[in-house]
Amino acid sequence: MQYSARVNEQNPDPQPSLLILDDEEAIAYPIAKYFRSQGWRAEIATEAEEAEALVEHRRYDMFILDLRLSSYGGAEGLEVLRGIRRSNPVTPVVILSAFVSDEMEAEARRSGADHVLSKPQPLKDLAGLAARLVGSQLG
């Protein structure tokens, strides 16, 4: 019983939940803090493999992903996005990247991203978009 916490348990919490994947903590933490102040349960992953493990075991209502995760080596955000889409075909995914190009945006959308935004984004705008996306999923 190494994994003594229940796995794949549906979250009974009515709070909307968000996973932020960004290797820059200076970016991820303010986003998480703002979303928490708006009533979300916001978690942070700074590596692709960490995000993948979280996605395997926990349920989220939305994802905000960076695509370039060079700080610690390992997989990139696009792989995480594709993995999310295999298990969560309709959960909203927003890409937040400092390197948005037409080519990158097209690739991200092909891989299942709902929105591709440039960094930085006003937190209020990001939260407003999230509320609309999650509201449309729930409603």
């Binding site: 190494q2 003594s4 916490a5 590596e47 493999e49 960490e50 493990a53 075991h57 610690y72």
Partner: protein, 251 residues
């Protein structure tokens, strides 16, 4: 937040914490502790504090062996606060046993360093990701047995803890996952599965552990099926070694 990658933070000395959960013997007139299983918690405040995230992350980083070693050290260090005569269950991935030729030396050295006799150890075999080297695994198991370590097969009935693994491990303990235990008192089919595992374990000379017992009715159902060992929240949460030592019933 420390600098460096998450794996570095996990492997830092002191980052992993061990807690312990007793496995109770149901066959004696008074509830007694048969052994304690160690459970790992990742660095506090991190996503990997939860063990399923910790090991899911380690597997994706191809770092299961390194994390298993760090877990063993954390457990043996913490277990110094347990009574010296109590058996100690340690989870280990089959892949670590198969692929890390130095693991057994590491285990022996660590056990000696922290004053734990190998004969006190119950290695609980888990595996969540095939494939692994079967020949290496068999060899590792033989070496463990040779130094007096008992073998438990964890999560029987789920994932890779199947009939093939039962044959490979020939375990001393069959541990049945809580999925089959929870609600068994009112579920004929769950009881049928539990009874079949109990029957299967008998010719192996093995004992069966019902994991994740949370309700008294389930405990009675398990006992009535001839399953002699149980653990779970019904008996209390997993505790740090010092707290558990105070809480343990007289043995």
């Amino acid at each position: 937040m420390a600098s460096g990658g998450l794996l570095d933070r996990i492997l830092e000395r002191g980052a992993l914490r061990a807690v312990f959960q007793p496995v109770f013997d149901l066959t004696s007139s008074q509830l007694s502790v048969h052994y304690v299983e160690s459970l790992i918690r990742g660095p506090e405040g991190e996503s990997v504090e939860a063990p399923e995230i910790l090991f899911g992350y380690a597997r994706r980083k191809n770092a299961t062996t390194a994390v298993d070693r760090a877990c063993v050290e954390a457990i043996l260090l913490a277990a110094r606060d347990l009574p010296e005569d109590i058996l100690l269950g340690i989870n280990i991935h089959a892949s670590t046993l198969a692929q890390d030729p130095e693991f057994l030396n590491f285990l022996g050295d660590s056990a000696a360093l922290y004053g734990t006799a190998p004969s006190r150890l119950v290695m609980e075999i888990v595996e969540h990701a095939p494939p692994w080297d079967v020949a290496g695994f068999r060899s590792g198991l033989e070496c463990l047995r040779a130094i007096g370590v008992r073998i438990a097969l964890d999560d029987i009935g789920l994932g890779h803890s199947n009939y093939m693994m039962i044959l490979e491990c020939r375990p001393d303990y069959f541990k049945i996952d809580h999925h089959f235990v929870a609600g068994c008192h009112s579920d004929f089919h769950r009881r049928a599965v539990l009874a079949s595992v109990a029957e299967l374990a008998r010719p192996f000379g093995a004992r069966v552990v019902a994991e994740g017992v949370e309700a008294g009715e389930d405990l009675e159902a398990v006992r009535s099926l001839g399953i002699g060992l149980a653990q779970g929240w019904l008996f209390g949460p997993a505790l740090p070694a010092a707290e558990l030592s105070k809480a343990l019933p007289c043995r």
